[in-house]
């Protein structure tokens, strides 16, 4: 078939479509859903016992804010990259807060060696962290992918990674509000590890959603 004939067919079958919300609004919508879901869970669990004293430590507050900003900026970047004409540079948006979060944890690890002794003794297991981040993060990431499924024919991979990262970072921030982990290395291992796992899972499991052949919308 010649391209001119294809245009004729596409035009002949044209139906009005509802215009999609702007990427900013899509990101805001998803962040609202995520904040509500995570906030509800935090309320159910109750804030951690040492919350008040933690909030007095600027280092801790900055670390928490960095994870929230990383989640928010990853969500915005994913929504932007889902549009074909937006610059790929949006993908760099969450890099700075993510590095700040990791850097702050690394610095915390150093401080903990002075406070708590050798690092080997600080490391334990915290399957609860992994469970929470995955159990909360997978549905949130799925919602994100569903919202941004129009990225499939254009930039599926990057949108999947950023969407997974957004869910994971916000879940980690929510978890920090009610779950007590004393050593920074534990947060780095269990929160960071769970975030990495969720991002990877999102990329693997989200591909079928994103790369599904778009329904013939005529």
């Amino acid at each position: 078939m010649r391209s001119e004939e294809l245009i004729g067919e596409l035009t002949a079958g044209l139906r009005p479509v509802r215009r999609m919300a702007s990427p900013g609004r899509q990101a805001a919508l998803w962040l609202g859903i995520a904040a509500a879901a995570i906030g509800l869970t935090v309320l159910l669990h109750g804030l951690r016992h040492d919350m008040a004293e933690r909030m007095l430590l600027p280092h801790e507050v900055l670390q928490w804010l960095a994870s929230v900003v990383a989640g928010g900026s990853a969500a915005l970047a994913a929504a932007m990259l889902a549009r074909p004409d937006r610059s790929w540079r949006w993908a760099l948006l969450p890099v700075a807060p993510l590095l700040a979060w990791l850097g702050s944890l690394g610095w915390g690890c150093m401080a903990d060696i002075a406070r708590l002794g050798p690092m080997g003794e600080q490391i334990g297991t915290s399957w609860g962290c992994l469970r929470f981040i995955l159990a909360m993060g997978i549905p949130l990431a799925a919602a994100q992918f569903w919202l941004l499924r129009h990225a499939g024919p254009v930039r599926p991979g990057r949108v999947l990674v950023l969407g997974g990262l957004a869910s994971a970072a916000l879940c980690s921030a929510g978890l920090s509000l009610f779950h007590h982990l004393d050593a920074a290395v534990m947060i780095l291992l269990w929160h960071g590890g769970a975030m990495l796992l969720l991002t990877l899972l999102g990329w693997l499991l989200g591909r079928p959603v994103m790369l599904r052949r778009p329904s013939a919308r005529t």
């Binding site: 391209s3 596409l10 009005p16 479509v17 215009r19 999609m20 074909p84 004409d85 024919p153």
Partner: protein, 177 residues
């Protein structure tokens, strides 16, 4: 495009036809094969159609079209690259197979049929055919070499030709000599 989103078919038609040269140029810049490039253009048209609800009217249309077309062209190149590793195009090879004898198949079959047909003739007919038709000798010399009379040679040659024609499915001309 904003009008197309609302369902204006004429605006949509105008937009796509106006965009076609741009899409073709983009595809041809990436893909050398003209047919493959045209396929990429059609992929791009289909994607534009599928994603038309995601276009934001306050932004220029050109970068949106360009990004989609580039994406489809790259996809097609990748698919082509993957396929190219596994497949060998055979369109050009129909006349030239690897084994030297393989291309003479039909001629060999025809020769075998002819030999089989000749083998079914009587000894006298084979001799007459060999001398009169293959060696093209004058009847007198053929008669001297075979020891057959000229008349017998004529009859044997005629019958041999007739038998061969019948056996090989060639229509008899019907002319008796």
């Amino acid at each position: 495009m904003a009008a197309a989103q609302a369902g204006d078919t004429r605006a949509y038609d105008r937009l796509l036809r106006a965009a076609l040269p741009l899409l073709r140029a983009l595809a041809r810049r990436r893909i050398q094969n003209a047919a493959e490039a045209e396929d990429a253009v059609q992929d791009a048209l289909l994607t534009i159609h599928t994603l038309r609800h995601s276009y934001e009217p306050d932004r220029p249309i050109r970068p949106w079209l360009v990004a989609i077309c580039e994406r489809r062209a790259i996809d097609r190149l990748r698919r082509h690259g993957r396929r190219g590793g596994r497949e060998t195009p055979i369109d050009d090879f129909s006349e030239t197979l690897a084994s030297p004898g393989a291309n003479q198949g039909e001629a060999r079959v025809a020769a075998a049929e002819l030999r089989a047909a000749v083998a079914e003739l009587s000894q006298a007919q084979r001799t007459a055919l060999g001398l009169a038709k293959l060696e093209d000798l004058p009847l007198a010399e053929a008669s001297a070499r075979s020891g057959m009379s000229v008349g017998a040679l004529k009859v044997a040659t005629h019958r041999a030709m007739k038998a061969l024609r019948k056996r090989l499915g060639v229509k008899d001309s019907g002319v008796e000599d």
